[in-house]
């Protein structure tokens, strides 16, 4: 009687949406070291952005130069926020596609995510340009320094995310993202969603709450 040597589930046997469903890895936690490392990194990122947001809250009332609500263009930033929010949808659809082994569809969704991220980034650069033209430079006031540092750090994270997304597409085109490496896409997705989550906080705290 033939017996299988291992009963570990594969991607095809598990559904990430089933409660407690996951792929078992040969680690103490049953989670791959890469995924665990990404979650630890994201936890530490909470401290980084917490520090930047706190600094902004302390300095948001400028002693000189324009005030936040004299220069913020809320309709424009709302559109940018919506674009970034939708990029989280395309990202999760990409992860879903690679789990089903649909490589072409995964590349389309990843490409859409990168394009939406680039649109958000272009909007942020445009916004910065307008602010500088209106007299709000990095050293104009302590508010401007805190604002540019916070939103600039977030922009850098978006840029890194776009580079990772483009890399995934290029690797996939070369056949280096097979189904059993779908977790790579999921891990990049975790980073991307975190960038979106941080913007959810920045949008509310920086742009919508009045000074």
């Amino acid at each position: 009687m033939a017996e299988t040597l291992t009963s570990r589930p594969t991607l095809a046997d598990a559904d990430v949406h089933q409660a407690n469903a996951h792929i078992e890895h040969d680690t103490n936690t049953g989670i791959s070291n890469t995924k665990l490392g990404m979650w630890l990194f994201l936890a530490s990122e909470c401290l980084l952005f917490g520090g930047l947001i706190t600094t902004y809250l302390l300095y948001k009332r400028p002693l000189e130069g324009p005030t936040p609500h004299e220069i913020f263009d809320i309709p424009f930033t709302s559109t940018s926020s919506f674009v970034l929010l939708m990029s989280s949808l395309t990202m999760v659809l990409a992860v879903s596609a690679i789990e089903r082994g649909e490589h072409q569809r995964m590349r389309v969704w990843i490409g859409a995510t990168a394009a939406l991220g680039a649109t958000f980034l272009a909007g942020q650069i445009y916004e910065f340009t307008v602010f500088v033209r209106e007299g709000l430079g990095f050293t104009t006031s302590r508010f401007s320094s805190a604002f540019y540092t916070l939103t600039g750090f977030h922009g850098i994270h978006v840029t890194v995310g776009i580079i990772m997304l483009v890399s995934i597409v290029l690797l996939s085109l070369r056949g280096k993202v097979p189904e059993h490496k779908a977790e790579t896409v999921e891990i990049v997705g975790l980073y991307w969603h975190f960038v979106d989550v941080v913007w959810v906080v920045i949008f509310a705290v920086v742009y919508l709450i009045p000074t």
Binding site: T29, L40, L58
Partner: protein
């Protein structure tokens, strides 16, 4: 019977509220929900005199909307709801630590009182 990633979401996951929803549909519905919350957030700016968020209610309303969006993305899009509990604990460890540390810092700078900027 094993459940493959090709199958629909088990109705138990959806609390039996709906049947035969594919995973992607859940994601799209989640995105629509998040978009709707964003519209409400923007309305607090466009219609500041609306009774629900007028005066002192504005900041609590914005904080609640922000928290709902935050945890919806973390739980649904980042799969935390469906993944191993240790990942939830790791993420909360960082999040709670950050919140406590910076609340302490804001308190040190007396941000809760008028005139702290002077």
């Amino acid at each position: 019977m094993s459940i493959t990633s090709h199958d629909d979401v088990p109705t138990t996951v959806l609390d039996g509220a709906v049947k035969d929803y594919s995973r992607d549909k859940v994601y799209v519905l989640t995105a629509i929900f998040l978009a709707a919350l964003t519209v409400i957030e923007v309305l607090t700016y466009a219609a500041p005199d609306f009774p629900v968020w007028s005066d002192k209610l504005l900041i609590p309303v914005l904080m609640i909307l922000m928290a709902i969006k935050f945890f919806t993305i973390v739980y649904i899009f980042m799969h935390l709801k469906f993944d191993k509990p240790i990942l939830t604990r790791i993420f909360y460890m960082g999040l709670v630590l950050a919140v406590l540390v910076y609340l302490a810092m804001l308190s040190t700078f007396r941000i809760w009182f008028d005139g702290h900027h002077n």
